[in-house]
Symmetry: none
Subunit: 278 residues, 2 copies
DNA sequence: CTAAGTATGAAACTACTGATACAGAAGTTA
DNA sequence: TAACTTCTGTATCAGTAGTTTCATACTTAG
């Protein structure tokens, strides 16, 4: 429906409301927006009115049905939790104006890191590292326009730890060649953040056809590659409204490398020794 | 039935979930808790699974019905909005002391980021960005074994903002060729962390001879290139005793890019438009 | 004080949501 | 490869939530 917030509509319409309807409004504002997400009967009881009154109240706000009203509440909630994260410190710092650009940037990045750590199930993270440490089969890496450098960075480190690390480079033509050798059970790590790269989806399709297992490292909006992925590690990337930052992906990569090194230390240490030697 | 947060249950149960159920889990974590407050059909569609799978998923979490699950979500939401700051995941995890590898890693990285921001004088940071935003002369980038990917990442972004961005690739032989065109007043951004790269020192020497201005991005132990640098941005990289992490460098790079974009918006926006167009 | 109009909740209705059963797909093992 | 297990989506059903109706209580005006 229109671009007005639900709370805004209540304040606008509250004068038109009847006594019982006002109780409903008060109740909703009192525990906003949770009460509105409950079934009508519960809303009614909590607000001290009947179901019918609540329905009339919702109708007065301009929603054509109760589900419609709930949808608006959910969208509002979603909006709020996605955009300018944590008004607490970053906003406070901006108000004081005593912090410079770098401080503000770092503060936001810290939020992203924390959220990312919370977003990623420990078991998924461990599964990825364990799989890498197994040191079986090949491990392919691919990324999009900017994330390709993350793939490169990860590749450079993985090469020290295990064998069979291959990079899928950006040009679709050569990619096809590189995919020929993919065997069932091989591992593929794909980086994809929005705007998502169509060619990566193709690569993922092909990899799946060849029965490779895909690990996807993506942002909170979840690349379409997720459909094909056995394991997904989603990171928070949003900064303010104009900018997405990949710092959380980078840190995740380093964490994976660190953990994998730890897990495969006996093997990896020999390997690293021989590489360093030359 | 009570006492556990829904997100907590997901992390607990995720290992015994099937592939499609995991999609549901990820979907919910991705837009938490809103998606769970929607009707099953919508949840299912958004998560890329069927209604039945979503039902099985919530059943796996230990809820005896979908409405029951939604009630839990609402109560959690209510709880969170009442307490001042959300202490939901990170705080609780730290209290329990059961934090996993990723959490610990992220915590250390956060320390590094904060220290880095403190270590870098605002004036130096601003000077670098301003110099980049001037958009005069050429800008060369070079890095060492691993940091070369940071140089590449920065190059890819800088190209969108300004003209004359060049990358000095890793092979000493070709580097010499690329340095021929360097002119007085050109800018060079060098990444160097320990163990410091001897060839970068050579490059820096040559650049200085040609009167280019060097910006050095390095770690807390300070690359020897610092001798030749006009501006130095040192970052904290130390993690525990065995491992150095470059995440702080990466975030610094992104901060520089963001700030430079901001400073040169009138010029940069046109440029970006024309690049996106093709 | 009475009558017209409005507000309200109880109860009936219907539509849609959540639950279930089943069949086919996918994956696993021998 | 074939048999078997497990997973997953479709189709169906049952129950509940949202909606509507209507009789009653309350206001307000005449």
């Amino acid at each position: 429906m229109e671009g007005k917030s639900v709370a805004g509509r209540i304040h606008e319409a509250i004068h038109r409301l009847t006594a019982a309807e006002k109780r409903a409004a008060r109740g909703l504002l009192g525990s906003y927006p949770t009460l509105g997400l409950a079934p009508v009967a519960e809303f009614a009881q909590q607000a001290g009115a009947s179901s019918a009154t609540v329905l009339r109240f919702v109708s007065q706000l301009g929603y054509k049905s109760y589900p419609d009203f709930q949808r608006a509440l959910r969208e509002e909630l979603e909006e709020r939790s996605k955009s300018p994260l944590q008004r607490s410190h970053s906003a406070a710092a901006q108000e004081r104006g005593d912090s410079n650009f770098l401080d503000r940037f770092v503060t936001q990045e810290v939020d992203n890191l924390r959220s990312s750590a919370a977003l990623i199930p420990a078991s998924e993270f461990e599964a990825v590292c364990a799989r890498l440490a197994e040191n079986k089969g090949s491990c392919y890496l691919a990324g999009g326009r900017f994330t390709d450098f993350l793939a490169g960075y990860m590749e450079a480190h993985l090469r020290l730890i295990r064998q069979g690390v291959r990079r899928l480079d950006g040009r679709p033509a050569t990619r096809a060649d590189q995919l020929i050798d993919v065997r069932a059970g091989d591992l593929a790590i794909i980086f994809d953040v929005r705007r998502y790269d169509a060619s990566l989806l193709d690569v993922a399709t092909e990899l799946t056809a060849r029965r490779a297992q895909i690990v996807l490292i993506t942002d909170e909006w979840m690349s379409p590659v997720a459909r094909f992925a056995k394991l997904v590690l989603p990171c928070r990337t949003e900064m303010g409204r104009t900018w997405d930052a990949n710092g959380s992906l980078f840190t995740l990569v380093e964490a994976v490398i660190a953990r994998t090194t730890e897990l495969s230390w006996p093997t990896a240490s020999k390997r690293m020794g021989s590489i360093e030697g030359k």
